[in-house]
Symmetry: C2
Subunit: 404 residues, 2 copies
C-alpha cells in the first residue's frame, strides 16, 4: 500500500559546495511519486520545522532547482541547533500536524541523530512515517561511508589553494603555514597532498588531529625542510591537539572563544596560524614566515567544485527518496566504493551512524605523523573530480656564468 502524505526536507550544519545537489535530488525525485501530496522545504533546518517555517517546493520550477543545485551553501539555510528529545518530540508533532510522512534531513553526525530520535517518536505514536538521513560534511567524518558528499569539493579547494601557495612560496621563499578546517578528522587537511607534483613541492609537512602535535618535533621538522629547500610549506588542521587531547590553540594562547557546546572556536579566526608563525619566527629565526587560514572559503567558494562530488551528492538525495518512498525504509544513506573509480549506495541503520566520528586510518598517515601515505593519495584522488588544474615549470638549461 502506498503511504500518502507530504515530504519535508531540511539542511543542517555547515554548508558545503554540493549540499543543494542533495536537496534537489530529493525534491525532483519525490515529485515523481503520486503518493507525495506536497514537497516542503524547512527554512533553517530543524528550527524551521519547530517554527512551521516551510516553503512549498512542489511549486518551484525544475530549471530553478537545477540552478540552485549548482549553487554552494544551504539554499534552505541552516541551523546549529542540536535537538534533544524534547526538541525532537516537537519536530515530530509539527510534522504530524502537517501530514508529513517522509522526512529527509541533509547533514552530518548531529543531523543523523536527530533523524533517529524523530523516527522513534513516530514509532512510539504508531504513526506511519519514513525518516532518512542524507550525508553531508566537508570533514568526511561519518562512519560506514567511503567518503561523504561535500568532502570532494572542499578537498579540491584545499588542493588548489596549496598548489598556488606552493608556487608563491617558490617565487618568494620562506615558511608558509596554511590552516585547514577539521576539528577531529584530518581528511580535509590531508587533501593538501594533491598539490605535490614535483619532488620538492609543498606541502612538505602535514599535521592532523589524529596524531599528537609536539611543539619541538614541529620545529625540528620545519628546520629540516627549510635547511634542505630554503623554504617550507605546511598544512595544519585547525583541530591539532597534544598527546593529552588538549587543542594546541589553547596551549599557545589564553584568548580562545568557546561556543554554546563548550567547544573551542577554531574557524573564523586567524589565531592558530598566527601563533604557529610566531613560534617559527622566534624559535628558528626565520624572517619570512606567513600564515593563511582558509576559513569559510574552503566550504563555500563559488567556482571550485568536484564533478564527482556533485553527482554523488545528487544521487544520495535521489536514493533517499527511493528508499523511503519505494521501499518504505528508514536509515542513513552511505557511499560505498565499488571500483576505481565508481560508487554504490547502501542504507545504514541510523543507530550505527549517529554520534560517531570517523578518523583517518593509520594507513593514511606516515610513521612520523607529519605527512600522508600513497594509500591516502590513491584514496582521495578520484574524489576531487576531473580537470584538476596542475602547475608547470620551466625546464630551460642554466647559462654558464661569465666573469666580468
Amino acid at each position: 500500500m502506498k503511504l500518502e502524505g507530504k515530504v519535508v526536507v531540511a539542511q543542517g550544519g555547515g554548508p558545503t559546495a554540493v549540499i543543494n545537489q542533495s536537496l534537489v535530488g530529493v525534491v525532483l525525485e519525490s515529485r515523481k511519486f503520486t503518493q507525495v501530496t506536497r514537497v516542503y522545504g524547512a527554512i533553517n533546518g530543524v528550527s524551521g520545522i519547530i517554527n512551521k517555517n516551510f516553503i512549498d517546493l512542489t511549486q518551484e520550477t525544475t530549471h530553478n532547482l537545477e540552478q540552485v543545485a549548482d549553487t554552494p551553501s544551504s539554499a534552505l539555510f541552516s541551523t546549529r541547533d542540536k535537538p534533544d528529545e524534547k526538541y525532537c518530540r516537537e519536530i515530530f508533532s509539527v510534522l504530524k500536524t502537517h501530514d508529513v510522512r517522509y522526512f529527509f534531513y541533509i547533514g552530518g553526525n548531529d543531523s543523523s541523530d536527530t533523524v533517529r530520535i524523530v523516527n522513534e517518536e513516530a514509532k512510539k505514536a504508531d504513526y506511519e512515517f519514513r525518516a532518512i538521513h542524507i550525508p553531508k560534511t566537508i570533514d568526511n567524518d561519518l562512519v560506514l561511508n567511503d567518503h561523504t558528499p561535500g568532502y570532494g569539493s572542499a578537498a579540491r579547494f584545499v588542493a588548489q589553494a596549496f598548489m598556488g601557495a606552493n608556487l608563491d612560496n617558490r617565487a618568494l621563499p620562506g615558511v608558509y603555514i596554511g590552516v585547514v578546517m577539521g576539528r577531529h578528522a584530518g581528511f580535509l587537511t590531508a587533501a593538501s597532498v594533491l598539490a605535490q607534483k614535483y619532488p620538492d613541492d609543498g606541502p612538505h609537512l602535514i599535521y592532523l588531529p589524529e596524531k599528537a602535535f609536539h611543539r619541538d618535533k614541529f620545529l625540528s621538522d620545519v628546520k629540516k625542510i627549510y635547511d634542505n629547500y630554503g623554504r617550507c610549506v605546511i598544512a595544519v588542521s585547525e583541530g591539532i591537539i597534544d598527546d593529552k587531547g588538549i587543542p594546541i590553540i589553547t596551549k599557545l594562547t589564553q584568548n580562545v572563544e568557546h561556543d554554546a557546546h563548550g567547544n573551542v572556536q577554531l574557524s573564523g579566526s586567524g589565531m592558530l596560524g598566527d601563533l604557529l608563525s610566531d613560534l617559527v619566527k622566534k624559535q628558528l629565526s626565520i624572517k619570512r614566515v606567513r600564515s593563511d587560514t582558509f576559513g569559510y572559503l574552503q566550504r563555500s567558494f563559488l567556482g571550485c567544485v568536484s564533478d564527482v562530488d556533485q553527482h554523488e551528492a545528487r544521487e544520495v538525495g535521489e536514493k533517499a527518496a527511493h528508499y523511503a518512498i519505494w521501499h518504505n525504509l528508514d536509515g542513513s544513506i552511505s557511499i560505498q566504493r565499488s571500483g576505481y573509480y565508481s560508487v554504490d549506495y547502501k542504507l545504514q541503520n541510523l543507530y550505527d551512524i549517529a554520534g560517531k566520528t570517523r578518523h583517518m586510518d593509520d594507513s593514511f598517515i606516515n610513521s612520523e605523523g607529519n605527512g600522508v601515505t600513497d594509500d591516502f593519495i590513491f584514496y582521495v584522488r578520484p574524489l576531487v573530480g576531473s580537470g584538476l588544474p596542475t602547475a608547470h615549470r620551466l625546464r630551460a638549461p642554466k647559462v654558464d656564468k661569465l666573469i666580468h
Copy 2:
C-alpha cells in the same frame, strides 16, 4: 639597422595568476627576431642578474612555455630587492658583459623605476640598449593604465570568495569580515561588489584605504545592516587607515611586524580581521562574528583566472618585444580601454610611471565611504572575464502556518 644581441627577461614583486603569460609573450615573440641571439631568463628578478643566474629560454619548448603561461606565480621566481643606483649600475654591468641589448622587467611600480635607472646607465655608457617595463600588479595601482595585468584574476577570486561567503552567511547568519590585499589602493577589495546579485546580498559594506576609517562610523554601519538583514558581510582592505594616515591595524594592537622598508606587515597574518571581529563582538554584542583573511590565495590560487586578464597579460609581453625590437623604443607598456570591452596598448615614458601610485577615483566610491558606485561596477565587470559563476536562490512560495 638591426640591434643584435641578447634578451633578458625577469619578474619582480608579488606573483600574480597571469604573470607567466607576460613572460611567455616576451619569450615567444623575441624568439622570432633574427637579431635576437639568445633569450635569457633571470632567476629571482634583478638579484638573479646581479648573481648572473640565468636560464636559456631559447632552449625551452614552445609547448612547455604555453603550459607555464597557464601556471600562476612567477616561473622565474621573484625578489623583494628594490635596487638603488649602485645596484642598477651592477645590473647594467652584468647585462653589458653578456651582450644583452634588450631588457624586459615584469613588475609593479618599483620594477618600472629599476628599468628607468638601468636604462639611464646604458645611455651614460653610450651602450645601445632597450629597456621595457611590463606592468603587473594585483593592486591595480599603476598610473596611466586603465588597469593592470594580474588585477582581473585576483578581482575574480575576491568576487567568487564573497559570493560564497555571502551564501554561507545567509545560511548561518552573523557578521562576516573578509580582509583583502591592498596597502594603498582599494581596487581589489572593491571588486567584492561583484558578489552582489540580489538586493540583500553582501558585501553590505566595503572599506578602502582611500577613505579614512572611523571606528565609530564602522560600528554604526555594521549595526544598521545587522538590524536590517540580521546579518552583515563586510569587505575590508588590509591597508585601511585613519584620517591621519595611520594604519588601523597599528591602532588596534601593538603587535605589528615591520618589513625592511619600515612598512607594517599586513599580509600573511589574520590579525586585522581578528581585531575587527573583537571590536564588533564587544561593542555591538553580536555573538556570531567571523573573519577570514584571504591572504596569498587571492594572488596564487590555482584554477581561478580571468580569460581577459590572461590574454592582456600575454599581449603586454608581446607588445614589449615589438616596441623594443621592431621600434627601438624604451618605456612602460600600458593598457588603454578602447571600447566596452576592448583594449589597446600604449608605450609610456618610464618617468611618468615609476614611483607613482594610482588610487581609486572618487567617482568609484560612494559618498559615505563604505561602498562603491555603479561606475566602479561598470569599470570592473569586464576585467574579471567570461563565465563568472553566479548564485541562485529558491523562489518557492511560503506555506501558511498550521496551528496544532
